[in-house]
Amino acid sequence: MMSSIILSALWGVIMMFSGIFLKKKSTAKYIALVGLLMLLMVNLLDYYNVWMIHADIRQMLKFTPFGLIFNVVIFACTLIFLLLNAAEFEKIGTHVYDYYALIFFVLCGAGLAISFNTLLMLFLGIEIITIPLYILAGSEKRNLKSNEASIKYFLMGVFSTGIMLMGIAFLYGATGTFYIEGMNLGAAGLQPMMLIGIVLLMAAMAFKVSAAPFHFWVPDVYDGAPTPVTSFMATIVKVASFMAFLRLFDNAFGKLHADWQLLIALLTAATLFIGNITAVFQQSVKRMLAYSSVAHAGFMLFALFGLNTFAREGLILYAAAYSLATIGSFAVLAKMDDYSLEGFNGLSKTQPLLAFTNTIFLLSLTGIPLTAGFFAKYYMLLGAVKTGNHLWLVIFAVLMAAVSAYYYFRVIQAMYFKDGNAAVSRVSPVFSISLGLTAALIILLGLFPNILLNGLYF
């Protein structure tokens, strides 16, 4: 994993420099694809204990099969993301090489955030993830909404970073170390300073994963940022932050689970409620997907609520299922001329493939069996019921999942049952094939989720 962290940083630099020497926009995606394939390969080698680089990291990072599998998910999703969005990136602006470079830096940050062993590395990882996103969100320079998104995200992001640092400082004050093993929280009960630290960190992480009530930046930022960037932020960035969130509260604060479980339960309920209910009233599909991503954050919070094997396995599955479906759905959206719900009217007649694959993505997001989304939700619920308390939360969650069917199915209704002439921009064969593969992958994971989970137990 060390090698993939180094490689992603290195490849980011290579991308930037090749931007100076290569003038053709379209070459960028090939270099990026090579980089991603190499990352996947290096990661696999790591998985089979072939270490490319030995670095003395002073226990600041800890590499587990769990993290490695998660890295595979992230890299694979980025690969699919790239295949689906390469054409869109070329439309955003002139600095295509820089956009890809920034994406590689985000991946480097994700690697750090997933495998941190001290709070310093967590902070570093989260910041490396976020800073490139401030730039990417504003990458459509001439578009006011994109600029607004960037500024909003930056201001709110900086604020949450402050809170996070404050939380880390409190924990350091309470324990005298940044290392999560050294902290040994829970050994001497809960002290006020620890509690403040934990709550502050929870707030900061909730901000990063867009959990209510820290989700206010989401709709405007997701709506304003260029669609491919939104897709990236809502999926890969979000699930990476979630993994950091889980690792922090599992490894560092796990022994105090009983003390903060109720807080997470309330956070979960609020996120599910606000995300789902607000999504119902959206007219723009892009905004609807933004709120749906808040709603899914609510479901992923169940991993922290449950904090058992099912929940941990479930988060990996959820990350994969949610990312694949959302990337696919955003990719279809990016091709539409009109982002409103009416814009989808009659898509099944003009573009049967787009309509069909989008239906699978939406069904997966709803959590219908035979799609990956079902098992993702299923594992989350399993983990939550297993804890044995707060069954009300689980019932509430499934009722909210039923609400989510409402807004996802409205898109399906528009595509299939409404008359209209949905206009789309040109669809390349590579795009169609990638879209079909993504849908096939979702069905495959929906039938055999074990192919992903078995990787954890080698």
Binding site: I368, L382, V385, K386, A402, A405, F409, Q413, F448, N450
Partner: protein, 493 residues
């Protein structure tokens, strides 16, 4: 031949064959090919069921009717199917319903016929899976999968308000299914061996309070599907708006999923809670019966009339199951099949009338008997079966069910029996107004309205009605193993 040589078991064949032929149907763009393909495919499925009935080799019996594959060992779920008496009976109903539905509407043209027939066959897969599943997760999988094709079918083809109405139906069932999922997860976590199999579910140790709570999570899903009063509001709208074949499948077969699940998944898993809530459920069922009967009387639309009469019949089944005695459960077994056949027959007649005259308002029709005596004969037989006259198939079932219910309570039965009178009243009233009386300008041109495909289908229905009316032992024998198993499970409570 030894057990290892078993190539494919009956339940597998019944699931995979419609799935495969359904997927192929999507590629048959030509309308005629798609139609022929699905008719032939559904008849082959029926033949498979027929063959399975004659397969009585003692040694290999078990191996051809049970199957279990490793699916997700980490959470103790396996792809387990069983083909027992009740499963066979419902698979037969499913296999019979599809050719009937296809044949009746053979002359109806559908937009995008390949999608229509493909989705129909896919829904058959889901139904067969539900009836054969022996693993709770597999059951839930098919339970949901049966709905998805129906959702697309009912939203794409049908009346003006179809999209909204179907969506209401979908949200109802999806919400209830999710509650069922929570229930399944809860029971699974309390099974002794951490498995999803039905036998482990029956051994689960639940505290009394939790059992009562989870019981309702399960019942919610089944009640919506049946539908049990007060969860029935989606039903008349959906039946009215869907295309005829879809309505036939919905009312003839899909409704049985709920009744079936009560017998297989609810009462044996929660025996104590079932005893506690028996009065509540029976009360709901009987209230629903009387209420729906009165509503059926007031309907002017033929489809809505049949829809409400279906609520009455299903309510009786639900009440008879909860009476928990031999007579009641045997009656339910017989009636599950017969109600499916009868209501499909009713829809056929309604569809023929609507297709030919362009209306299904009782007030606008009249005197069809003069212009089409053939249809009238069929209808009268089916209508008699619908009100459970002796010598028709429904008589035996209803008699057994009322007998069972009587052992539960006299007054409840008396109240439920009023629905028989009401049902006779509204059914005969309908027959009289639609088929007799004066011919008007709408119904004058009735000659030649029944085409060959429809006659075949109607004859099949009438044969089944009379055969099972005269010799009901066929159905009783077929399902006796399930009935005994069920009774053994609940005796002494």
């Amino acid at each position: 031949m030894n057990p290892n040589d078993v190539l494919i078991t009956f339940p597998e064949l019944l699931i995979w064959f419609p799935l495969l032929s359904g997927l192929i149907a999507f590629f048959l763009k030509e309308e005629k090919t798609a139609k022929r393909w699905s008719v032939i495919s559904s008849i082959i499925t029926l033949a498979v069921v027929a063959v399975s009935f004659f397969f009585t080799n003692k040694e290999l019996y078990y191996h051809y009717n049970n199957v279990s594959y490793v699916w997700m060992p980490s959470i103790g779920s396996s792809f387990a199917l069983m083909y027992d008496g009740m499963g066979r009976m419902l698979c037969l109903l499913t296999a019979l319903a599809f050719p009937l539905a296809f044949l009746t509407t053979y002359n109806t043209r559908y937009e995008k016929p390949n999608h229509f027939y493909g989705l129909m066959l896919l829904s058959q897969t889901g139904l067969m899976g539900v009836f054969c599943a022996m693993d709770a997760l597999v059951f839930y999988f098919f339970w949901e999968l049966a709905i998805i094709p129906i959702y697309f079918l009912a939203s794409q083809w049908g009346g003006e308000r179809r999209v909204q109405v179907t969506f209401k139906f979908f949200v109802y069932t999806f919400t209830a299914s999710l509650l069922l999922l929570v229930g399944i997860i809860y029971v699974y976590l309390h099974t002794p061996d951490g498995s999803f199999s039905l036998s482990s579910f029956q051994k689960a140790t639940l505290s009394s309070g939790k059992e009562k709570f989870i019981f309702w999570l399960f019942l919610a899903a089944f009640a919506v599907k049946m539908p049990l009063f007060p969860f029935h509001t989606w039903q008349p709208d959906t039946y009215e708006q869907s295309a005829a074949p879809v309505t036939m499948i919905l009312s003839g077969v899909m409704v049985k999923m709920g009744v079936f699940a009560l017998i297989r998944w609810l009462i044996p898993v929660f025996p104590h809670a079932s005893v506690v809530f028996t009065p509540v459920v029976i009360a709901l069922a009987v209230i629903g019966m009387v209420y729906a009967s009165l509503l059926a009387w007031a309907q002017d639309d033929l489809k809505r009339l049949v829809a409400y009469s279906s609520i009455v019949h299903v309510g009786l089944m639900c009440a008879a199951i909860f009476a928990r005695n031999q007579s009641g459960v045997e009656g339910v077994m017989v009636q599950m099949f017969n109600h499916g056949i009868n209501i499909i027959g009713m829809w056929m007649v309604v569809e023929l009338i609507e297709h030919h005259f362009g209306t299904r308002k009782i007030s606008e029709l009249g005197g069809i008997a003069k212009s089409s005596p053939l249809l009238t004969i069929f209808l009268v037989i089916i209508a008699f079966a619908n009100i459970a006259l002796p010598l028709t198939n429904a008589f035996v079932g209803e008699f057994l069910m009322f007998n069972g219910l009587f052992q539960f309570g006299k007054w409840t039965t008396a109240l439920a029996l009023t629905t028989i009178i009401l049902s006779a009243a509204y059914t005969l009233n309908m027959v009289q107004k639609v088929f007799y009386g004066k011919t008007n300008e709408v119904t004058a041109a009735g000659a030649g309205m029944v085409k060959r495909g429809a006659v075949t289908a109607l004859v099949m229905v009438v044969i089944v009605i009379l055969l099972l009316g005269i010799y009901p032992k066929l159905m009783l024998d077929l399902t006796s193993d399930t009935v005994q198993g069920f009774l053994n499970k609940i005796t002494g409570l």
